[in-house]
Amino acid sequence: MTDAHAVTIETVSKSFGRGQSAVRVLDNVSVAIGRREFFTLLGPSGCGKTTLLRLIAGFETADGGTIRIEGADLTKAPPFHRPVNTVFQSYALFPHLTVEQNVGFALEEQGLPREEVRRRAGEALEMVRMQAFARRRPSELSGGQQQRVALARALAPRPKVLLLDEPLSALDLKLRKAMQIELKQLQAEAGITFVFVTHDQEEALTLSDRVAVMQGGRILQMGPPRSIYEAPTHRFVADFIGDINLIEAEALAGGGVRLAGGGVVPVPGATPGRVTLAIRPERARMVAPGAGVVDATLVHSAFLGTAMLHKLELPDGGSFLIREADLSAPMPERGGRVGLCLPAEALQVMQA
């Protein structure tokens, strides 16, 4: 059977502990990750990201479901039989081996001749620009350098899939930004599928072809960064990723949604009842009082460098953010009344 996917996870569940104290960490998770895809698992601490990664690597065994890699069922296979390599969060570089020996470790295990091991370890180190450090011990390297060596070690045996568990979280912001770009380039050059774990939403959106947002052991939403950002299907997803305005509203039987203390916006397709409207701060606009769907009070304005951020108060007391990129736009006074224009195509309706 041929499979177009690098990794296929079908209805996988995992619990830790037994009997009464058992905790279900993954609940019926299914994902198909394409070849050469940069796929990111995003979610808050404890949602099960690492556990899912460890199941793919083979460090944990699933309670149920199947895991296939390049079409082969490897659900029960030990880690050393999986064409998958991991970049550990703690790097886990062998302290008793040199950088070169670390990078050559897997190549030796694959039984390659010594010359070939040295050549390919050298190549891998070159890829991360660490060839000058080949003879050092990991303890003699900085955090960023260790990170590169860990990457080279995992890439050297040319795995089908590379698993990365928050590989950048130990680096400072500047190095982190630089490594993000390098990672993305490396992935494109090596043509390897990346499964990347992070709890940093910005990192996830910048790097990924596709993002899966997880919460409490489930995948809530999966898709390209843009659709996750612009069309969140869950309140949790909307809230977790970037700034967003959430407005309590009521979907009407005849179509359209009525805002508390305001007018009706023509969004189709919502089942009547209480709903939550979501809109990104940069998609809403201020207009003259009475000209928008609802009137609000301007509470505060802040200059962000490339945009203005306005904080408004809605009639029901809720607050609302507007991000205005046009710095020459007329600015109302603080405390003044403004109208709020919510373009229907920018609104996302979520069942409350």
């Binding site: 460090f59 880690p79 998958v84 703690s90 886990a92 008793h96 470790f105 295990e109 694959q110 995992a154």
Partner: protein
């Protein structure tokens, strides 16, 4: 309350230290005394050290001690290593097993020695080197176990996961990663077990047969005939070896943490 502020604390501490170390220092100094009377100093000499080298009973006792300590420490270290690896993962009865492994440290040695003697006699096992090795191995296990265990506890499991991730099977992982990382702990454990066996008197005294006298047993029987400068010299040698080995064990335990 700061104990150091307490009026007589300082004096008491000094008295205790003097009481502990002065006899040892005196013994060491007099081992270099040329005079045969152990309490009258004439001038310095290495005579007694040359004398013990030439003494056949001391040479035999030294050889017995080294064979006994080497064999027992090796066996104890092997058993301790297996025990430490086996008690790594949780299993029912793990806590009990660990307690049993450390218990010999606090059992009164005389009781264990007598019990072992009774056991061997009732089983008809003849006393001598074999019986001594068996008993020494048993009481050396906790000394070998503790440093190995400490090393293992301080070792992140992610190194072994990384090795398996990089295609090393369980055996190769053990050989290429677990063992090299554990090695300083194993050596520290062996050294400690070796010193413990080397310094033991009681168990050896109970279980030694004809011709299997160890150094401590020899010293004990020799001082009944009076304290001689040879005893001072041989004791000093044992002291120095013990200090060196314990320091080595400590150094190995600290290595590449």
């Amino acid at each position: 309350m700061n104990l150091r502020r307490f009026p007589v604390m300082r004096e008491i501490s000094i008295a205790v230290l003097v009481f502990l170390y002065v006899p040892v220092i005196v013994l060491t100094v007099y081992s270099f005394n040329a005079n045969r009377t152990a309490t009258v100093w004439t001038h310095a000499s290495f005579d007694w050290y040359l004398r013990i080298l030439a003494n056949p009973s001391i040479r035999a006792a030294t050889w017995n001690s080294i064979v006994l300590a080497g064999t027992s420490a090796t066996a104890a270290t092997l058993i301790a290593l297996l025990a430490a690896l086996a008690t790594r993962r949780a299993f029912p009865g793990r806590d009990t097993t660990e307690t049993l492994l450390r218990l010999p440290l606090i059992l009164p040695e005389i009781v264990v020695a007598v019990a072992t003697l009774l056991l061997f006699v009732s089983l008809g096992v003849s006393l001598g080197l074999g019986a001594m090795i068996a008993a020494h191995t048993a009481f050396c296990i906790p000394f070998a176990y503790l440093p190995i265990r400490a090393r293992l506890d301080g070792m992140s499991g992610s190194y072994e996961e990384a090795a398996q991730d990089l295609y090393a099977d369980r055996f190769r992982t053990f050989r290429r990663v677990t063992m090299p990382l554990l090695w300083p702990g194993v050596m520290a454990g062996f050294t400690l077990a070796f010193v413990t066996s080397l310094d033991d008197f009681l168990t050896s005294f109970f279980l030694s047969g004809p011709g299997t006298t160890t150094l401590p047993v020899y010293i004990f029987s020799a001082i009944r005939a009076g304290i001689t400068p040879e005893i001072n010299a041989i004791s000093t040698v044992m002291l120095v070896i013990s200090i060196l080995l314990v320091s080595l064990s400590f150094f190995l335990g600290q290595l590449r943490r």
